[in-house]
């Protein structure tokens, strides 16, 4: 820290110390449960999650998806660059093959796995571990996220107990595709980030070990 910075730091801290009011205690935060419409039972959490994410234009697939490859071919017939961030599916590229963060903008669809969903808000958690290249979370066009329904927690209090928030350099609670209401209060999707977000709720997924039919 140079001397100007040291001076600024000390000036600010001195001013804060001189001015801060008499110490007030930290309240204890109760463990809130989900609201009256939902208990913390797994079946209810899935229903709540689906309802929450739908409000934010996210799409949920609850039926079995036996073949990821045919799934995304059917859903994104125009897509050419399919990035897979999961080991059991090859896609056309892997995140590791990106040479520069900005190259994530060339990705049409990225398949990811999320370690946690949140029923209260319909959010899924992603971090630099799942993304491998952070910019995928907002530069790719469409995201498909695999989520084990047993990993859906009740509310945001539960969500922030996840160790990622204390350990990872980047973690995001993502809720639906990017959007904005800045133009005259009209909600539009997408805004700057991903165009669609599809969550596949499945604890069992049959992987397709070979590369996709379409090449990037």
């Amino acid at each position: 820290m140079n001397s100007t910075q040291a001076l600024s730091r000390n000036t600010i801290l001195d001013s804060v110390r001189a001015n801060q009011p008499a110490k007030l205690p930290m309240p204890s935060i109760p463990h809130f449960h989900m609201n009256q419409h939902h208990t913390n039972q797994p079946a209810d959490l899935v229903a709540a999650f689906c309802e929450s994410i739908a409000r934010m234009a996210g799409v949920v697939v609850t039926e079995d998806v036996p073949d990821l490859d045919s799934f995304q071919c059917a859903k994104f017939p125009e897509a050419k660059v399919i990035c897979s961030a999961i080991p059991e599916y090859a896609g056309t590229i892997k995140p590791a093959s990106l040479n520069h963060w900005s190259e994530a903008s060339k990705i049409d669809v990225c398949i990811l796995r999320s370690p946690m969903g949140v029923a209260e808000t319909g959010s899924i958690l992603l971090s630099d571990i799942e993304l491998q290249v952070n910019t995928i979370a907002f530069l790719a066009h469409d995201l498909v996220v695999l989520l084990d329904p047993k990993q859906i927690v009740g509310n945001i209090h539960d969500a922030y107990e996840h160790p990622y928030f204390k350990l990872r350099s980047y973690s995001v609670l993502m809720t639906g595709p990017s959007g904005s209401g800045d133009i005259s209060g009209i909600t539009v999707h997408p805004a700057q980030g991903v165009k669609t977000l599809t969550v596949i709720l499945s604890s069992a997924l049959s992987p397709t070990p070979n590369a996709s039919r379409r090449m990037g």
Binding site: Q5, S8, T11, I12, L13, S15, V16, R17, A18, N19, Q20, P21, K23, L24, P25, M26, P27, I29, F32, N35, S52, R55, W101, S102, S105, E120, T121, G122, S123, N134, T135, A137, L139, N155, Y160, F165, K166, R168, S169, Y170, V172, L173, M174, T175, G176, P177, S178, G179, S180, G181, D182, I183, S184, G185, I186, V188, P190, A191, Q192, G193
Partner: protein, 466 residues
């Protein structure tokens, strides 16, 4: 010495434009209704508000310790922490970082703090091009107008207004007012800058001391874009944004978006705990009058603000005045109680842009006693001789008359003399202001006290309190 912002006159001008005024009023009232609907779904809503308020009060009363804790953790995480005493120092730090990198362009997500520091003109004068990536901020930037609302900076503009701005600056179709089309125009035109930028700037909604992390909530993901795409991420944040723990963060995240728009959470609520590999992350902790405000017994609670704008959406005066009428970085109820701490003379009229109805206080997720502080600022303005001479004189006359029963009774014998003395009307020596859009009260044959003297003479005699 700066001239006070004449918010009343600006509001009058805004009201004359019935299209924009009616639209804004309806839109923001609907936002307030959405907030109500969202709060109804959370049975513990009031408990959350109380918790949020207490967490903030605890943090602010221990702020020096938490700042030091954050600095240590953030540094250990690989961030570089800077301290800026004022707006100028903040701007200089940013410029030096860019100059050090050899950058002459950066992308930026929404930050009211940078507006407060007048950071963009500072950089632009030094040859740095700034691309706002928040849709609302970008619209305002292109239109060379400051933000009109702290959550939706361009919310006062119609789709037609936006179409015109984009057609002028981006060459898009001026006739196409479709919001999705316009958002697409923005996306196309901003994407190249995002991909090319070597520096990105964000603000932060919350700063977590325990983990050395900053938390940014956006709908567009543009903060993530600005932070994660370029190799240099600069995060500017006011020192009051600190909260103690990740556990406490949950309380605020549950309150913030519901209060702001009625959604349960934003599309991207992100925690940045350190730079990604090969990149740099700098955090600038900015004072700019906040530590001084901490020492204001009556007003330090305004530092609890989490910038949700619920107070603006509910404020009947804001909705009819428009955000730009306040001539300030922060507007509406929270603006009224913050801006005088920056420049007392310039914002001396703002505390009077309120009916003291108290709706703001009751929607505030952190329970700031906003309307009480507005009242408090009026007293401060009087103590600091910031009140218009005309108004003060009228009040002095009123006090004289109203503390002397005989003078009072003489003054109220006729409606016209009463109208000149009773303070509501006396403020401008004429009735012109009241009578512009309203009829004055009708003439009466006698006052209540005159009636009482004739109809209850016995009790009248018995009562002589001195």
């Amino acid at each position: 010495m700066s001239t006070p912002v004449d918010q009343a006159k600006n509001a009058e001008r805004f009201l004359a434009d019935t299209v924009h005024e009616q639209r804004l009023d309806k839109l923001l009232w609907a936002m307030r209704m959405r907030r109500d609907a969202a709060a109804r779904q959370v049975p513990e809503w009031e408990e959350l508000r109380t918790l949020a308020s207490e967490i903030k009060e605890h943090t602010l009363s221990n702020l020096s310790d938490y700042l030091i804790q954050f600095e240590a953790k953030a540094t250990a995480n690989g961030m570089i922490v800077h301290w800026a005493r004022d707006a100028h120092e903040h701007n200089q730090i940013v410029y030096d970082l860019l100059a050090g990198q050899g950058s002459n362009m950066l992308v930026k997500s929404k930050s009211m703090l940078t507006e407060e520091c007048e950071w963009r003109p500072f950089l632009e004068r030094r040859g740095i091009r700034v691309t706002e990536t928040d849709l609302g901020e970008r619209i305002q930037q292109l239109d060379d107008q400051p933000p009109g609302h702290i959550v939706g900076p361009a919310i006062h503009k119609t789709t037609q207004d936006v179409a015109i701005v984009f057609s002028k600056k981006y060459g898009s179709d001026p006739e196409n007012e479709d919001a999705a089309y316009l958002a697409g125009v923005m996306r196309e035109n901003t994407r190249p800058d995002i991909l090319d930028a070597r520096a990105g700037m964000t603000g932060a909604n919350f700063v977590v001391a325990e983990t050395g992390a900053v938390v940014v909530a956006t709908n567009e993901g543009n903060a993530d874009l600005s932070a994660n795409t370029p190799p240099l991420h600069i995060c500017s944040v006011g020192i009051e944004k600190i909260i103690p723990t990740t556990e406490s963060l949950a309380v605020f995240v549950r309150l913030l978006t519901r209060s702001a728009t009625g959604d349960r959470i934003t599309q991207y609520t992100s925690t940045f705990r350190g730079p990604r590999k090969g990149a740099a992350m700098h955090v600038i902790l900015v004072d700019n009058g906040r530590s001084a405000r901490l020492g204001m017994k009556r007003f330090w609670h305004s530092l609890k603000c989490i910038r949700c704008a619920a107070c603006m959406n509910t404020c009947p005066v804001y909705r009819r005045s428009g955000g730009l009428s306040y001539g300030s970085t922060y507007m509406g109820p929270i603006g009224i109680i913050m801006m005088p701490t920056f420049e007392i003379r310039k914002y001396s009229e703002l505390p009077f842009a309120s009916t003291l109805n108290g709706s703001c206080t009751n929607v505030c997720p952190v329970k700031i006693d906003i309307h009480e502080q507005i009242y408090g600022w009026r007293e401060v303005m009087e103590e600091n001789d910031q009140i218009q001479v005309v108004k003060k004189e009228a009040m002095r006359v009123a006090d004289k008359v109203l503390s002397h029963p005989t003078l009072y009774q003489i003054a109220t014998t006729t409606v016209s003399t009463a109208l000149e003395v009773l303070p509501h009307f006396a403020v401008y020596n004429r009735l012109n202001a009241w009578g512009k859009h309203r009829d004055v009260p009708e003439a009466t044959t006698q006052t209540f006290h005159e009636w009482y003297r004739t109809h209850r003479p016995k009790t009248n005699e018995e009562v002589r309190r001195g």
